[in-house]
């Protein structure tokens, strides 16, 4: 018994169809929709959000065992041993994602009205955003891996289109391609995982796979787990497929906020949480997830400490925070819920900060270099305050949303393995350091720019910072409120809510961790808070106290040098894979033309040459032809006679 008989749920496909229709209209009309395209795009996103909210309300009011609802729509493939339906699974997990995607998505649509106001292709931008919303909703509501893959690739496409939205910039075009190709390496993992599922379980429907998960041989399950992890690494920018995310910041800032912070990059976490049944059965793969998460968490934080580009520093931070989520998803059990919890709070505060960064860029002539900022707090009050809320949330300031969600993960990590736990704590310290650095460099300290009317003896950049329009600040305010309150709001509730999904075997035992009081009684929480304070202090020591920040970065120390170069991710990829591979393609092309075609053309040449030689026998003298003919007749005659005799 579930909710599929209700009207809202039986038409749940509208949730995806609405933004898809919006995207289709906007992209087909092109510049004809210039005047009203952004309104249509926003309305469509809001409509989807309202629909999602209704679904959530209906589910919220229903008894727990009726909440998970599978809505079959039509038969996608029915061939041989395969039966794949196009069906939507709307359960406690996916409905949270629906709210996050459409909610934050709508806010970012509204924000983009202002942010993209001067772009002549704004309606196309909204078309792409709508396409993204539709694909992302399909990703999280699909009831089979195959259908999920439709959304998975759809968001990849939207991400590609939006990263390289300003196509005339070579860097943006290259970044889009890089993101897509690296994601495809991950997709290969998902395809192989699905292939394995088809050959072992015979289906990729979640219900059938998870029901059979316990009977999959452990070796196979481990392989499936690692393949899924590969996919998650690609989509969620985890080591070793992390290199595309920093380049993806070439896209417009709302895109970075929506796709490369709040929603799409967390799809890997979603898939691993969703596939919990498989990972529970394959501890080695789960350990792999934890290790990948931990490494990325530290690597991202490291990158975050040394970037001067505000968006790239935030991107490093995103990698790092997703590392936390992956870590939790790998630990499993109750930590699945922590992963989703952190995913949601991160969705709010990171989107908030990215949009804040966009607001800063808006006021600073699209400059992203924090060394040319400073002292902006006086000029952009709303942006500063909202950004500060995000800041407090991400460093885990008590009672802010990140405090609860990150704390759970750190405690769970200690329970899993002390080394991982210590890494998680160090991550919290570094997070506090680089976020403090970002706050100080951008909003406080000395101004490292001048207003147009001021004297400019030091040849500082000329800027005229101003607060952004209401369409941009209202989303900031809403997101800031969620950055503050989401943790407190969900802390007691989310574990129970998600329990039927994360631990379907024991639907009635709720083992979700600490409440508000326990968060302050656990010594680990106190240690974490101390470390965070140390991180803030370090940031203050280095960048605070009205220090002089040079416009050009001074000669960096080794750690900084490595961080600035993204831990040499690109260099390693290029040296180990890209360059040898491209040389290989050149070799193949040459061999194709030289050897294979050479043999074909050469054999034609040989035959041609032979015939040139043979044609010399054609002398034109009739009598020599006659002699040849006679000789031939004699030979044939002799053969015949000898044949008779033999």
């Amino acid at each position: 018994m579930d909710l599929s008989h209700t009207i809202m749920f039986s038409y749940a496909w509208l949730l995806i169809a609405i933004p898809l229709a919006g995207a289709t209209i906007l992209l087909l009309l092109g510049s004809a929709a210039k005047k009203w395209g952004h309104w249509l795009g926003t309305a469509v996103a809001l409509a989807s959000f309202v629909y999602g909210a209704c679904l959530f309300a209906e589910m919220f009011l229903a008894p727990a065992e009726q909440r998970a609802t599978d809505v079959p729509v039509y038969t996608l493939i029915d061939v041989g041993t395969w039966h794949v339906t196009f069906g939507l699974l709307i359960d406690q997990l996916s409905v949270l994602f629906i709210l996050l995607i459409t909610g934050v998505g709508s806010l970012i649509h509204i924000y983009s009205i202002g942010y993209m106001a001067h772009d002549e292709r704004r309606s196309r931008f909204f078309g792409y955003l709508n396409l993204f919303i539709a694909a992302m909703l399909l990703l999280v509501t699909a009831d089979s891996y195959l259908l999920m893959f439709f959304g998975w690739e759809g968001v990849g496409l939207a991400s590609y289109l939006l990263i390289s939205f300003w196509q005339e910039r070579p860097a943006a075009a290259a970044a889009g391609k890089k993101a897509f190709v690296m994601n495809r390496i991950g997709d290969l993992g998902v395809i192989l995982a699905m292939s394995l599922l088809f050959t072992t379980v015979g289906s990729v429907q979640y219900s059938e796979v998870f029901a059979a998960a316990n009977r999959i041989p452990v070796a196979t399950a481990t392989l499936i787990g690692f393949f899924l992890l590969l996919g998650a690494c690609g989509k969620s920018a985890q080591v070793p497929l992390q290199a595309w995310l920093l380049d993806a910041m070439e896209g417009p800032t709302p895109v970075s906020a929506l796709i490369h912070a709040a929603t799409m990059v967390t799809a890997g976490v979603y898939v691993i949480t969703r596939s919990g049944a498989i990972f529970d059965h394959a501890p080695a793969a789960a350990t792999g997830v934890v290790i990948v998460g931990t490494v990325t968490m530290l690597a991202g934080a490291w990158i975050g400490t040394s970037k001067d580009d505000i968006k790239k520093a935030l991107a490093g931070s995103t990698m790092s925070q997703i590392g936390y989520m992956m870590m939790a998803a790998g630990i499993g059990g109750p930590a699945y819920a922590y992963a989703i919890f952190h995913l949601l709070t991160h969705g709010f505060f990171k989107a908030n900060m990215f949009l804040g960064a966009g607001s800063v860029m808006h006021g600073m002539d699209d400059d992203v270099n924090m060394r040319r900022m400073g002292g902006l707090a006086k000029f952009m009050r709303i942006t500063t305050v909202t950004f500060a809320m995000g800041y407090l949330a991400i460093i885990g300031f008590p009672l802010f949303s990140g405090f609860f969600s990150k704390d759970h993960i750190i405690v769970a990590a200690f329970g899993y393995n002390p080394v991982i736990g210590i890494c998680a704590m160090i991550g919290a310290l570094i997070t506090a350091y680089y976020m403090t650095r970002m706050m100080l460099l951008t909003f406080y300290g000395k101004r490292r720019w001048v207003e147009p009317q001021e004297a400019n003896p030091n040849r500082l950049p000329v800027r005229h910072p101003h607060e952004s329009p209401l369409t941009m600040t209202i989303p900031l305010i809403v997101l800031a409120l969620f950055s503050i309150g989401a943790g407190l709001l969900m802390n007691h509730w989310i574990g129970q809510w998600l329990h039927p999904v994360t631990d379907p075997a024991h639907p009635h035992e709720v083992t979700f961790g600490e409440g508000l009081i326990e968060a302050f009684t656990n010594p680990l929480a106190w240690i974490t808070l101390v470390l965070v304070a140390i991180g803030i202090g370090l940031g203050w020591l280095v960048f605070g106290r009205n220090r002089d920040i040079p416009l050009e970065a001074p000669r960096p120390n080794l750690a900084e040098q490595i961080g600035r170069n993204d831990l040499y991710g690109d260099a390693i990829n290029n040296a180990a894979v890209v360059h040898p591979f491209l040389a290989g393609t050149e070799g193949v092309a040459k061999a194709d033309e030289g050897i294979i075609d050479g043999v074909a053309v050469g054999s034609a040449g040989v035959i041609g040459g032979l015939s040139t030689q043979l044609k010399r026998a054609q002398t034109g003298y009739v009598r020599s032809y006659a002699v040849t003919m006679t000789a031939g007749v004699i030979v044939v005659g002799l053969v015949l006679i000898l044949g008779q005799l033999a």
Binding site: L76, E153, S164, F180, V201
Partner: protein, 508 residues
């Protein structure tokens, strides 16, 4: 005997070509298009009647008694259905796209071009519908003639070279195939009555050395047609020199005769030999796939790049055919359908580019997106379909091939999934070089500074419906997959292999 609908369907474009030579020149193109559209309607009606209506249109008449040859067309099974549909749908749009084609020296008019395309369509339809080995052979070979003139008459500067190369490879394959047809006839005669009907040949026991030799001959002939590495080098030349429409027709329809033959002739008539050759053919398909993709990445000419992507895709189709699962075989057939359109879109879009800029060298472009956004979108969509993005029919097909063959050859199928990454590289790499970045001066000089020289309405009509078709079957593949799956199941039955059962289901 009932109304010979299939003969009428296949003769209609031929008749149209004949009419074209009579009507006055200015009207020729319109008349040609009318015939192509009429064939489209008739083809779709036939397909609907054959699948939904369940009607059997097969015709069988004795043709050359001493050879055991018959004029036998039909039945329209899943395989014939997709190829007939692909052919009849593709041709009118190619004609629309090539509306203003004339040859370089202005000797041959669009009238000849339209007539040749219609003749090709007719011959291809006969080959796809044939139910007799000799009949299939005759039309398989006959398609070379109009195609030779299409390349040699209307192509680029080195079209003579390309046309001769195409013809020689085609004739070479045809010769080998003729020997195989004669051999098959001889074996059939030795084991009873001489008949080249497929249904009779299926009863012949080819399970000996001679039968294996015949099988190999067929395989080589089809590999030349496909084309598979290392017999593929005629294709890039033909694609580079031919007009975009001819190239689309060549790769989209005629080359499919190779993979079509592999299923219809190799698998269905030589089940034992096919089983033995299965693993090797999957390996060869894999090599073709990777080789074609890597060569495509390094190409410097748009048309050659697209040709190599097709070599790669044909590799996938071969993997699907010789993996012997219902799913992979259905995937291969579905791939043949979708590939016709995605390649056609790519070729036509590249053709639109070349017509404006005057060269197919990738390095001559840059930033075209700015001055021709619609053209860029069409190329990107064709490319996305080519790289098998979910939502396009090619994804369903490619995934069915990979995951279907995985059950039989996990390692090889696993390696084949690398194609997913390679295809993204060659499509997006090309898109990046041609369409993105700052607009170069040469592009401004030829396209103009604004979007006035973006796609015309005629060009949009030529590609729009094809895109819609790909998207439709990307989300709703089942209407076509159902008849395909039936045929695949029958073929699997003939090959004598059962689908590998999922390990867990087996234990239950």
């Amino acid at each position: 005997m009932s109304f010979p609908l299939l003969t009428v369907l296949a003769v209609l474009p031929l008749f149209g070509a004949a009419v074209l030579l009579i009507v006055p020149k200015p009207m020729a193109r319109q008349v040609g298009l009318v015939f192509a559209l009429a064939t489209l309607v008739l083809g779709v009606v036939t397909a609907l009647l054959a699948t939904v209506g369940g009607r059997d249109f097969s015709e069988t008449l004795v043709w050359i008694k001493t050879f055991g040859a018959h004029w036998a067309l039909g039945p329209v099974d899943g395989l014939a259905l997709v190829m007939v549909l692909a052919t009849v749908i593709l041709v009118p749009f190619l004609l629309i796209a090539e509306w203003n084609t004339v040859d370089l020296d202005d000797k041959w008019s669009a009238r000849i071009y339209f007539a040749l395309v219609l003749v090709t369509e007719s011959l291809a339809l006969f080959a796809f519908l044939a139910n007799d080995l000799l009949l299939f052979y005759v039309f398989f070979e006959a398609t070379l003639i109009p195609m030779y003139f299409l390349i040699g008459g209307f192509g680029g500067k080195r079209r003579g070279y390309a046309a001769i190369k195409f013809l020689l490879f085609g004739l070479g394959g045809g010769l080998i195939m003729l020997a195989a047809v004669v051999g098959a006839g001889a074996m059939s005669a030795r084991q009873g009555t001489l008949s080249l009907l497929y249904s009779d040949l299926r009863l012949v026991d080819f399970n000996n050395g001679f039968g294996m030799a015949i099988f190999v001959c067929f395989l080589i002939a089809f590999a030349l047609k496909n084309p598979m590495v290392p017999f593929h080098t005629w294709l890039p030349d033909a694609a580079e020199e031919g007009t975009p429409g001819s190239s689309a027709l060549l790769v989209g329809v005629l080359d499919k005769l190779g993979t079509f033959g592999m299923i219809r002739v190799c698998l269905e008539l030589f089940p034992d030999a096919s089983r033995q050759a299965g693993q090797i053919m999957v390996l060869l398909g894999l090599i073709s796939m990777i080789w074609g993709a890597m060569a495509a990445i390094a190409q410097k000419n748009l048309m050659r790049m697209i040709a190599f992507t097709s070599v790669s895709h044909f590799g996938f189709i071969v993997i699907g055919i010789f993996s012997f699962t219902t799913v992979s075989l259905s995937g291969a057939m579905f791939y043949m359908f979708g590939h016709a359109f995605s390649t056609a879109i790519l070729f036509l879009a590249a053709g639109f580019l070349v017509r404006r800029r005057g060269t197919a060298e990738i390095a001559a472009y840059g930033g075209v997106q700015k001055v021709a956004p619609m053209l860029a979108a069409v190329f990107l969509i064709g490319g996305l379909s080519s790289l098998a993005l979910p939502g396009f029919s090619s994804f369903v097909a490619e995934f069915m091939v990979i995951a279907g063959s995985f059950a039989r050859h996990p390692i090889l199928a696993g390696i084949s999934s690398i194609g997913v990454v390679l295809s993204a590289m060659y499509i997006l790499g090309t898109y990046q070089k041609v369409f993105t970045g700052p607009v170069t001066d040469q592009v401004v000089n030829t396209f103009g500074a604004d979007t006035r020289r973006d796609l015309s309405w005629r060009e949009r009509i030529a590609v729009g419906p094809l895109i819609a078709l790909l998207l439709f079957f990307g989300f709703f593949p089942q209407p076509l997959l159902a008849p395909i799956a039936d045929t695949a199941a029958t073929t699997m039955h003939q090959v004598g292999l059962a689908d590998p059962t999922p390990t867990l289901k087996g234990n239950n």
